[in-house]
């Protein structure tokens, strides 16, 4: 097994080793050639690493600005709900350096930046729906002039009572979409007849993305009303569409360009679009380049976050702890508008089962409308909020029966004959048992469980806890039509290759992975491949880089493009040298012509030049669409996912029962990456996702005051994990010898989101530690984020035996 990135208590790590040097099976069956791979399945550094460390990587705010560049600043509502009476810009307009103050009437097209719904205005009209809503935009010669003028805009709002929590929204049936349900069997009857039944409630909070580079766009007007928008977006095509919608022009007038993002995590999927549109409208209005960069506080107040959820469920089970039925309500805080909430709720509902076979199943998802930021995509996209339910239920079941929660989990895993999800997709590749066994073994569960129990018996103040978590996560966009991608590859006559595709590079290493794939096709050194900025002018009609699908989709599209060129080169070489195509072999940057008598070898560049002289096109697009998937969004049934990704985690924590402070002491993770394209990049995704998930469940707390104003608006008040919060013992293993059963690119699997959920083990471990206060026989409610305050409150309840009562059958 390739054990990667071990961090011992001394912090002395081992270097990342390649996953293996043995010959690997190449891309799916007939689509790839079965040669020894030189470029894929190899640990390779991020292509921009040296630029990152030297400060030479350009982000949008670093780009040289034309001298006539203007800067934008936004006027935001400070009231959460009400009627917009007046936005008076008279004074602001006359401030020094101010060129324009733009409002709804300055938008030539439609004042709507909705990603999938409608009526999500860029600049509010009539109604105020949350504190942080954009009302107007000042455009000035300098950023300071723009910001100073913002304060001179006089806003009058007739305030109304806002809805600020899920419970109130449920009570008033305030939804952004109708409730949706995943249903199988007869959960009511199964619950009624189950030997045991438990009910519980809990909630999880939202999460700020806290990409280090805030939202930014830079719009440059061209001739005839054309506009180029440099945007820090995960969805260039949506930027193009929404800019065009607001400008009232054809899509072909707008070019969205993205070289890199300083972090995205879902926060720059729909939210980047309105920022770009605002810049575009201003550039169009003034005829000058306009940069709009949101200061951190504005970014946090104005943009959406991960959805917080409230849960209520009833679970029925037998004497051994086998689940017979689950009836769950998942209520998401959608914020004020639809945004991407339908997809988030759908993914939460299709991940409520997590790793477990639940014969009778009902999960109802409510998308609650509150007067808060419109919540949006965030790594996991509802998956993390779905998988926590069964983890809570299985702990309660185990405690109720006096059984080991680790064993009770395994008892309920999907397995042969118990392998269909409640929404109708078969779990036909299943690494759960393997991941579980490996994480238990690597984490020495028996020894440590005994140690922890002994520690807890001896320590009244500090308690330690252990938590395990199995993961099954579906890969593909829930909406089938989004699972498509395009690429554009050019081979130049010096043998250098330019690569473009629809995916965006936000740090996740997509560009290097796709470059590896193209290098593999041509058997050239990766240095010959030049990834270029994502642009709607090069590859059109793309999907967002999201849902972990970046490499799955764009990697295949690039492979198709490269392979088309390669086949043309092979055909021409065969003709030119008078040999069979099978006699042309690409290897190590060269092309061998196996002609009897003369074993001629050309460099790749020489063949490229030869092909050009022979009038062979050395440019090709490539296209890919994910096979096999289908989904009925009304019935909530189908096969939404091309495949599942698996994993397992074990976390150990310690809590202080006097203050509620906690610390993660150790984490052991096993993650299925299929046959990893780049183990170094995948390791980085796993570790980073885990720590981000840990933050979501522990220290990251969003706090709104009684008037609905977000008060955690910067890193001084909103605490993401720091380096010391990472488990001092942190063992990450890529599941070895697990090539994807489906025809994924080089049998690899997606890795962006799944490991975030592995951090659920931390939450489970915290509950285990808290339970130790009450002698480990009390089920504990622990809402997330498990801040010191929430942990202490749970400790007090455990101490006083004030835990939720449970319903027991017969």
């Amino acid at each position: 097994m390739a054990r990667l990135g071990r961090l011992s208590p001394t912090g002395r790590g081992q270097p990342v080793a390649p996953a293996g040097t043995a010959p690997r099976r190449s891309a799916a069956g007939a689509r790839g050639r079965g040669a020894v791979s030189a470029q894929v399945h190899k640990a390779r550094r991020h292509d921009s690493a040296l630029k990152h460390v030297t400060g030479q990587a350009l982000y949008i705010d670093d780009m040289p600005e034309p001298p006539d560049t203007l800067h934008g600043a936004l006027v935001l509502s400070t009231i959460a709900c009400g009627k917009l009476v007046k936005v008076d810009i008279a004074v602001a307009s006359k401030m020094p350096g101010v060129v324009a103050v733009l409002g709804p009437t300055d938008i030539p097209g439609k004042n709507d930046v909705a990603a999938i719904g409608q009526n999500e205005p860029l600049f509010a009209v009539d109604r105020i729906e949350f504190a942080g809503q954009t009302l107007a935009m000042v455009v000035a010669e300098t950023l300071d002039a723009a910001r100073a003028a913002v304060e001179k805009v006089v806003v009058e709002i007739e305030a109304e009572e806002p809805i600020l929590d899920i419970a109130t929204a449920l009570e008033r049936k305030a939804y952004v979409q109708a409730p949706s349900t995943v249903l199988r069997g007869d959960p009511d009857a199964a619950l009624a007849s189950a030997p045991h039944r438990l009910e519980a409630e809990f909630s999880v909070g939202g999460q700020e993305h806290f990409y280090l580079e805030g939202q930014i766009a830079f719009a440059l007007p061209g001739e005839d009303g054309d506009i180029t928008v440099h945007s820090s977006t995960q969805h260039p095509t949506e930027v193009q569409h929404i800019c065009a919608r607001l400008l009232g022009c054809d899509f072909n007038r707008v070019t969205a360009v993205v070289r890199r993002l300083g972090g995205g995590f879902g926060g720059k999927e729909s939210n980047a679009s309105w920022v770009a549109a605002a810049a575009a409208v201003a550039a169009n209005h003034t005829g000058r380049p306009v940069k709009l960069r949101l200061p951190r506080e504005v970014d946090m107040v104005a943009t959406g976050k991960r959805h917080g959820f409230d849960y209520r469920y009833t679970v029925g089970f037998d004497d051994e702890g086998r689940v017979r039925a689950l009836d769950a309500v998942l209520a998401a805080d959608a914020g004020w508008s639809l945004d991407l909430t339908p997809g988030v709720v759908a993914r939460a509902l299709t991940h409520t089962d997590n790793a477990y076979w639940i014969p009778h199943f009902r999960a109802v998802g409510y998308a609650c409308r509150t007067n808060k930021q419109s919540n949006t995509a965030f790594r996991g996209f509802g998956g993390p909020q779905g998988v926590v339910i069964m983890e809570d239920a299985l702990d309660r079941i185990a405690l109720h029966l006096g059984r080991d929660p680790v064993e009770v989990r395994a008892l309920n895993f999907y397995a042969e004959g118990r392998d269909e999800t409640p929404y109708g997709q078969k779990v036909d590749e299943n690494h759960l048992a393997r991941c579980w066994a490996e994480v238990k073994k690597g984490g020495e569960i028996e020894r440590r469980r005994a140690e922890i129990d002994a520690f807890n018996a001896a320590n009244p103040v500090l308690k330690r806890g252990l938590g395990l978590f199995p993961l099954k996560f579906g890969i593909s966009f829930n909406l089938p039509h989004m699972n498509q991608a395009g690429a554009l590859v050019h081979v130049y006559t010096d043998g250098s290759i330019r690569l473009n595709h629809g995916g965006t590079e936000m740090g996740q290493g997509l560009f290097i992975k796709v470059a590896q794939i193209v290098a593999e096709v041509f058997k050239v050194d990766i240095d010959r491949i030049r990834p270029s900025a994502t642009s709607t002018a090069e590859v059109p009609n793309t999907s967002p880089t999201a849902a972990s699908t970046g490499t799955d989709l764009n990697g295949w599209a690039a492979w198709e493009a490269a392979n088309t060129i390669r086949q043309r080169m092979v055909a021409y070489a065969a003709e030119h040298f008078g040999v069979a195509e099978a006699d042309i072999e690409f290897a190590d940057g060269t092309v061998r012509i196996a002609k009897p008598g003369s074993n001629q070898v050309l460099s790749f560049a020489e063949l490229a030049k030869l092909c050009w002289l022979g009038r062979v096109s050395l440019s090709s697009t490539g296209y890919y669409k994910t096979p096999k998937i289908h989904w009925d969004p009304v019935a909530m049934r189908g096969r939404p996912f091309f495949y599942f990704s698996f994993g397992a985690a074990m976390a150990e924590v310690a809590i202080d029962t006097l203050t509620g402070e906690s610390r993660v002491l150790r984490a052991d993770l096993v993650q299925d990456c299929g046959e990893s394209l780049n183990p170094a990049i995948d390791l980085g995704q796993i570790e980073g996702a885990f720590v981000q998930g840990q933050g979501w469940l522990t220290c990251e707390e969003l706090w709104w005051d009684a008037r609905g104003r977000l008060r955690t608006t910067g890193p001084s008040t909103y605490k993401i994990p720091g380096s010391r919060d990472v488990p001092p013992v942190f063992n990450v293993t890529l599941l070895d010898n697990a090539p994807s059963r489906e025809a994924t690119i080089f049998r690899s699997k997606a890795v962006g989101e799944p490991p975030l959920m592995l951090a659920t083990a931390v939450w489970t471990a915290l509950k285990d530690a808290i339970g130790a206060v009450g002698g480990r026989n009390a089920a504990v409610r622990l809402d997330a984020p498990a801040t010191p305050e929430r942990v202490l409150a749970a400790v007090e309840r455990a101490r006083q035996g004030r835990e939720q009562s449970v319903t027991r059958n017969g």
Partner: protein
């Protein structure tokens, strides 16, 4: 008088005429100098993306360029990520180590980490994880999960890094300067007191870790400031057999070893105060002067029975810190006065000092509740106790009811009395109920600690 700000930037002497001294160093680097390797992540000194290094007295100190005013940089030597080069223009070994460890993903935070790593490498640090985390506490990364960065730091700790070059003599400022008629940088105490008397509305600037936010985050730079850092009396640190005296404008970085030597419990506490970047600029005088109810040092100083030396042209007076904080953000400082120094009596025989900080995150967080306690025990009896808390009231304050109860009836009574001392507020750091409960429980922790000093009572120690 038209003084130009002048400093060294990446080994080049820079004169900055005609620019407001209230401009932040970050804005100047990016917008005026075109050096855009240094990033703005938060503009409040909390994310570290803007980290640059000050090279002074043979040391390298990481600072947050977003909250440093250009006037403060006068006479200093600044190094940014663009000023890091290895042999023949290759990346610096610190940069190479970061790249080779896969310690970058999106890369936006990376230049800041590189500069913190450079300062770390220059400080002769060892590769223990505690030192590494101390060095990184002021830098946030949202992508990597830090493991590879920590791994890179273990390699960086062992690098032989070239010492900072000596500052050019021309940078020395023997006499006071004024920039733009607004940024006063006196060199003597007399000049400082004259300025203070003449400009009672000018803000006193020590490290700018708080004041700098006016220029960075709020974009409303102060109209006038008096910079305290160049007045020798305010930077002095001295000790006697009886007491420890810290100049009001001495940085935490400068004062830490003296404080920890006198009060060992401060070792961990001070490592949690802000971040390395903040401690390199921030001062105890500033922490007291802002009179924030959640400053980390006031509870400590109250418990330690600190007194302040306040000075003006009218003379010098000494007041107990107990009498300094009047109400929310208001102090006993007269408009023409400055805090010159803070003195704390050393611990007497039988006395011990302890302190706690509770926050959502261990590092670089503001305390939800901070508690500090000096207790004198003789013959098994508590003879004296000073219990002070932050985050519990509009000002940092002693828990006088709990103190009295402790002396009279012991810990159980003191714990019960905390509720009489404080009426805390609800906010994003914690509810009033939580704060009260934690304050009481911290006294319980103190009781356990006194009973058995060896006992492990904090998750941090596991």
């Amino acid at each position: 008088m038209a003084d130009n700000m002048r400093f060294a930037l990446n080994d080049t002497l820079v004169d900055v005429p005609g620019l407001s001294p209230m401009t932040t160093l970050l804005d100047w680097l990016r917008d005026h100098r075109g050096l855009r390797g240094t990033k703005e992540g938060c503009a409040e000194g909390d994310c570290g993306a803007c980290t640059v290094v000050l090279e002074r007295d043979g040391r390298r100190e990481a600072i947050n360029s977003c909250i440093v005013l250009l006037g403060q940089v006068d006479g200093q030597s600044v190094r940014t990520v663009e000023g890091l080069r290895g042999a023949e223009g290759a990346p610096h070994p610190v940069q190479t180590a970061m790249a080779e460890a896969d310690a970058t993903q999106c890369g936006f935070c990376t230049p800041g980490f590189v500069m913190s790593a450079l300062a770390f490498a220059s400080g002769g640090n060892t590769a223990d994880t505690g030192s590494i985390h101390d060095a990184l506490a002021g830098n946030l990364c949202r992508c990597t999960g830090y493991r590879p960065i920590v791994e890179a730091m273990t390699r960086i700790a062992g690098l032989a890094v070239e010492p900072p070059p000596a500052a050019p003599a021309i940078l020395a400022r023997p006499a006071s300067v004024v920039f733009d008629g607004a940024f006063f940088a006196p060199r003597t105490l007399d000049e400082l007191l004259d300025l203070r008397a003449a400009h009672p509305d000018a803000l006193l600037l020590a490290g700018a870790t708080d004041l700098g936010l006016l220029a960075s985050r709020a974009r409303k730079p102060p109209k006038q400031v008096i910079h305290l850092r160049h007045v020798p009396e305010l930077a002095a640190i001295s000790t006697t057999d009886d007491k420890v005296t810290i100049g009001a404008a001495a940085t935490y970085a400068a004062a830490t070893s003296t404080l920890v030597e006198a009060f060992p419990a401060l070792r961990s506490y001070l490592s949690r105060l802000g971040s390395r970047q903040i401690r390199n600029m921030g001062t105890i005088g500033g922490n007291i002067g802002t009179a924030s109810p959640i400053g980390d040092m006031p509870p400590v100083l109250l418990a330690l029975e600190a007194s302040l030396t306040l000075v003006s042209k009218r003379g010098t007076r000494e007041i107990p810190l107990d009498d300094f904080f009047l109400y929310y953000r208001k102090t006993a400082l007269a408009p023409d006065e400055i805090i010159q120094s803070i003195s704390m009596p050393r611990l007497w025989e039988g006395e011990s000092f302890h302190c706690d900080k509770v926050s959502k995150r261990r590092d670089q967080d503001i305390s939800t509740v901070a508690g500090a306690y000096r207790v004198r025990i003789r013959n098994g009896k508590i003879e004296d106790a000073r219990l002070a808390f932050g985050g519990m009231a509009a000002t940092p304050r002693r828990a006088r009811a709990a103190e009295a109860a402790l002396l009279k009836d012991g810990f159980a009574a003191a714990i019960a009395a905390v509720g009489e001392d404080f009426k805390p507020v609800d906010d994003w750091r914690g509810s009033a109920d939580y704060r009260l409960q934690v304050a009481a429980n911290l006294l319980r922790r103190l009781e356990l600690r006194l009973a058995d000093p060896q006992r492990v009572l904090e998750v941090e120690a596991l």
